[in-house]
C-alpha cells in the first residue's frame, strides 16, 4: 500500500470522527437552543420576583420555586455531602475496614435506583412519620441520590494521592484521623469540591424525588418543615397543564434551571483544574 493511499485513509477516518462527534453534539445543541428560544421570552423581572399567578390571569413568577430550589438543594448537599464524604473517606483511607463491603454494595445499589424511588423512600422514612410533606423530606430524597455520586468521587480523588503522603504524616507521629483531616483532605480539595458540585447538579435537575416529598407550594416559604416549591417540580406541573401562560413559564423555568446547572458544572470543572 503506498503512501498516498494511507494519507487518503487517514483523511477519511478523520472525517468519520468529526461526523460522529457532530451527531453526538447535535441533539444537545438542539435541546439547548430550543429551551433557549422557548424560554427566553418568559424571563422578565416578574418571573424572578413574584409568586405564581392563577391560570389565565397572566403575569406572576417563580420566586417561591427559585428560593425553594436553593433551600432544598443546599440542605440536600449538606446531608448528602457529609455522608458521602464520610463513606468515600472510609473506603479510600481504611481499605480494610469491615464496613467497606456493605458500603460499596449500598453505593452501587443506590446508584442504580430510579430517582422516583428515592422520593418514595423519603416519603416512607420522613413524610409519614412527620405527618406531612416538607422541604426537609425532599432534601432527604435528593441527599440519598447524591450520596453514591459523592462517595465514589471522593474515593477516587483520595486514591489518586500517593500513599507516601499518608506514611510521611504517620511517620511524624500523627494519628491517622489527623493525617486524613489535615494532609489528605486538603490535598484532594479540588477533586472533592468537583464531586460535590457534580452531585448537586445531578440532584438539582430531578423532579421525581420531590413529587411526594417537597410537594410544591404556590406561596413563598422558608419553612423546611412545610411543603416547598422547586424549579423541576414547577416545570413538571406547568408543562402538563393546559394553560398557555403556564406552559410558557415552564419553558422559562426550564431555561433558568439549565443555566443554573451549566453554571454549577462550569464551577465543578474549574475546581478540578485548580485542585
Amino acid at each position: 500500500m503506498n503512501l498516498r493511499r494511507r494519507y487518503l485513509r487517514d483523511r477519511i477516518m478523520v472525517v468519520f470522527v468529526y461526523l460522529g462527534t457532530l451527531i453526538v453534539l447535535l441533539p444537545l445543541g438542539f435541546i439547548l437552543l430550543h429551551v433557549f428560544t422557548q424560554g427566553i421570552g418568559a424571563l422578565n423581572w416578574d418571573f424572578f420576583t413574584k409568586p405564581p399567578a392563577p391560570p389565565g390571569e397572566g403575569g406572576g413568577g417563580m420566586l417561591p420555586a427559585i428560593v425553594g430550589t436553593f433551600v432544598i438543594d443546599l440542605m440536600a448537599l449538606a446531608m448528602g455531602g457529609l455522608l458521602g464524604l464520610g463513606g468515600g473517606i472510609l473506603m479510600a483511607e481504611y481499605p480494610d475496614h469491615p464496613l467497606n463491603r456493605p458500603l460499596r454494595l449500598v453505593a452501587n445499589v443506590l446508584g442504580g435506583i430510579p430517582a422516583i424511588l428515592m422520593g418514595l423512600f423519603a416519603f416512607v422514612l420522613v413524610v409519614v412519620p412527620m405527618g406531612g410533606f416538607s422541604a426537609f423530606s425532599g432534601s432527604v430524597a435528593l441527599a440519598i441520590l447524591m450520596i453514591p455520586i459523592i462517595m465514589r468521587a471522593t474515593e477516587e480523588v483520595l486514591r489518586i494521592l500517593p500513599w507516601e503522603l499518608r506514611e510521611a504524616g504517620l511517620a511524624l507521629g500523627l494519628p491517622r484521623w489527623r493525617v486524613t483531616l489535615s494532609l489528605i483532605l486538603p490535598a484532594a480539595r479540588g477533586g472533592i469540591v468537583t464531586g460535590l458540585l457534580l452531585a448537586l447538579a445531578r440532584a438539582a435537575g430531578e423532579a421525581a424525588p420531590l413529587l411526594f416529598t417537597a410537594f410544591g407550594n404556590p406561596f413563598l416559604s422558608f419553612d423546611p418543615l412545610g411543603p416547598m416549591d422547586s424549579l423541576p417540580l414547577k416545570i413538571y406541573v406547568y408543562a402538563i397543564s393546559p394553560y398557555e401562560d403556564w406552559i410558557r413559564q415552564a419553558w422559562g423555568a426550564a431555561l433558568l434551571l439549565a443555566l443554573l446547572l451549566m453554571a454549577t458544572n462550569y464551577l465543578a470543572r474549574r475546581a478540578m483544574r485548580r485542585g
Binding site: 480494610d96 504517620l170 511517620a171 507521629g173 500523627l174 489535615s182
Partner: protein, 248 residues
Amino acid sequence: METENLTVYYGKNAGVRGVSLPVYDRKITALIGPSGCGKTTFLRALNRMHDLNPIVRIEGRVLLDGEDVYAPGVDPVVIRRRVGMVFQRPTPFPTMSIFENVVAGLRLVGIRERDRLREVAERSLKAAALWDEVKDRLNDPAVGLSGGQQQRISIARALAVEPEVLLMDEPTSALDPISTQAIEDLLGELKEQVTIVIVTHNMQQAARVSDRTAFFLDGEMIEFGPTERLFTNPADERTEAYITGRFG
C-alpha cells in the same frame, strides 16, 4: 535501640527472618544488600510502619530504651514520634508552605505558639542545612523547591519533633549527585543529636557515612560490624562477593 530475632511475614512468606541487630546510640548504622533482600522491610518494622498493612505479621522484639515497641498497649503513634522516618522520594505536604511543612508534626497536634514554632523551624532547617537557602521564603509552597531541597525539608520536618532515632530509606536514591553530597555531609552532623539507621543501595555511600554496617541477603542478616572492618575484611564470603560487586 535493638532488635531481637525479628521476623516479618508478608502473608506466609517471611520478608525478614530472625534478625538481631544492635543499633548504637548517636551512630549511623547502614543497611546494605541487593534489591528485595528485606532491608526496607526491616527498617519499616522499627517504627511500626507495617501496622497499616493487615497481611504483615511481626515476630520477635524491637526494643527502644529497653521496651518492646510491639508490646500490647504500646501506641504506634507514640513510637513514631520517637522514631522518625525519611522516605526514598521527597514527600513535602503539597498544600503547605515551607514553614508549615517543617512544623507540621507540632502544629497538627495542637502546638500553636508562633514564637516556639518559628524557633523550631529555624533550628530544624539549620540542622537540615537548608536554612540559608529558604530563610527568605518560608511562606512559599514547599513543592516549588528542588528535589534535593524537598528531601532536606522532609529531614527537617522529621527532626522538628525531636525523635531519638531517624530511619532513612534510601534518602538520596532519587537525587542528583550534588544534592546527595549535601545530604551525606548533613548525616555526619546529625548523628550528634540523633541515632540514624539508613538503608542504601549505594555501597560507597554506606562506606562513606556509616559507623556500622549490616549486610542483608534474602531476608537474613548475613553480617554486621564496624563499617571499615566489614568493607575491608568481611567475615562472610557472601558479604565479600557483594561488596566486590560480584552480584547485586
